[in-house]
Symmetry: C2
Subunit: 390 residues, 2 copies
Amino acid sequence: MPLTGVTILDLSRVLSGPFCTMLLADMGAEVIKIEALPDGDSVRKSGAMRDGLSYYFATFNRNKKSVTLNLKDEKGRELFEKLVLRADVVVDNYRPGVLDRLGLGRERLRSLQPKLICASISGFGESGPYRDRPAFDFIAQAMSGFMSMNGEKDGPPLRSGLPVSDLVAGLFAALGIVSALFRRERTGKGDVVCTSLTGAMIALLSYAASTYFATGEVLPRNGNDHPISSPYGLFNTRDGAIAIAPPTDAFFIRLMQALDLALLLDDPNYKTGQQRVARRAELNAQITERLSHHGNEYWIEKLNKAGVPCGPVYSVQDVFNDPQFADMAIDVPHPGMPPVRMLGFPLRFTEAECSIRRPSPRLGEHNDEVFGSLGLSPAEIKALRAQKIL
Amino acid sequence: MPLTGVTILDLSRVLSGPFCTMLLADMGAEVIKIEALPDGDSVRKSGAMRDGLSYYFATFNRNKKSVTLNLKDEKGRELFEKLVLRADVVVDNYRPGVLDRLGLGRERLRSLQPKLICASISGFGESGPYRDRPAFDFIAQAMSGFMSMNGEKDGPPLRSGLPVSDLVAGLFAALGIVSALFRRERTGKGDVVCTSLTGAMIALLSYAASTYFATGEVLPRNGNDHPISSPYGLFNTRDGAIAIAPPTDAFFIRLMQALDLALLLDDPNYKTGQQRVARRAELNAQITERLSHHGNEYWIEKLNKAGVPCGPVYSVQDVFNDPQFADMAIDVPHPGMPPVRMLGFPLRFTEAECSIRRPSPRLGEHNDEVFGSLGLSPAEIKALRAQKIL
């Protein structure tokens, strides 16, 4: 596996950090999830439950081990530092400064283990006026400009229905961590890598940012219409709706031909992309008229055959009922219950691979194993449990 | 820099692949963009232009070199294969099979250079019934379930206003590439890594997928309201609107106290999250009444001080006018024009760093340098240009 042999101590909770370490664990890293007493990661009790298990937690924490550890206790911190001596990476998504106040700041950890890579995901980054603000996916969507671009033309700014800022920040963090690991292989040096929910979302502003920087223009929300491309959008057919998106003139020509609207290609009103944007409503009406004669299935096959990007709007159920995406759902054995279905791997390797090696852990399931490996006897571990240090 | 010494041949066009290689180039990889004649990457002519330059292109192609090469010509393929001998990674976002038909499939390239890492981004992956369909960001948003979760409660499914599937697939590809590079440092072995626009988006379904897998329930679109959390959303104040998102009971208590609504904490109707979801409308009305007495600035400061995640909805302009995000815009010197403003780096390292080393290249700007380094004389390069091979 790509990351075999890498050990990660994971102090992160909820979504952004756990998604980051899930990606790394799927690629072979050993991830030790360090959870606070008494309840551990709050996601253990959140989202839809089945057989007493949060499927949300089970997905984001597969392939990980769990230990409990009270970092507010000196003995707990000592044990953490012993784990750091054997770790390659420490990941957290605390607010900046929280680990410093515990005496476990990066300087301290890196002085113990100079090759360590410390990775942090925060809401607003390590500096600036909002550094200490509490952060949350929705707020990052709002303050990054993302929501201003998402929504109906005449409606309010909308958050994405999925927690994209948590997920994208987690992805960036994973990329940063593996890049620092690669550099360490070549230089022998550790590093600190930071990202933030807001920074990650701003990094997605793409043409909205480049248009603003080039011209000062702030592009409007535009629903399913593309601000600078037409035809483009969701079109009704006889029995549903399909997304159609011809990205260039060549694709527009194919679309018109496939719809038996080739005569519009000679119409001087639709020659350029700009004209087609200006006459979007009347062009859409003609397309919709043609589409009304057949259903989704007919048009999706016909337009794809003609080389026009198009497809249906799938519900989550539709996605997992389509054989194309069958391997994006996997069934993971969990002791004492039926296999737990969860999302598969978006990355595929040919030589190495992603894999499931263990289900999500029970809280503190690996206390004996992990602390035992530090040389603690069963009696010592039992005593630490009684003192609520583990 | 994290990826110093890594050489990437980039056959990708438009957005997903170029975003991937931009991320790698920002971290120090040498990226040679290989463009088709006569016009190269279509993004050169797309999006907002200034001083004759597409700012969209300039952002996604900073730090890269550009060569032109006709891969349909035998001599062109020969030169490509010579470049492969010196490369670590080849990236493409063609449809599966296109490179094979050119005689430049992965088996061929890896037989030339066994340590090579081949990375591909496609619309639907390397197998399955839709393998050969043309793909596009909008279609991936539609077919991945993303759109089904995005939009107003009573409105149509909505695409994200930003090309998230291109960007997220590019991020996954970058993560896969660096992970394969890391493994190669340890094992000496190359690999193939693939991702897809649809797979990348499905990987973001998070609680929508886990709820469906646990219960069979398909969560509805819900606008700015969170399906299982309340209060949560965009709330009007005296002079605007703010996003408020207390993620747990503890945060709900802080919010009620900060709004002088602490008496609701004793109301048996609002004790549990479930009750608050059921009475969302009446709870929201009470919150909005309180918020109406002051403006955004007052509430954002007050609620943040109380530890409640909240913030304004920023336009793209607001983002870049806020000192918090000042370093997410950078000015890159471009010869012959004023500096070009573009998005900064969402990843920050302490020891290594991301940096801009060169502006986006003119088409074929590095033909002489790159092909000269293969031993071609200026006269040979000139002849190849005349034959439209370069």
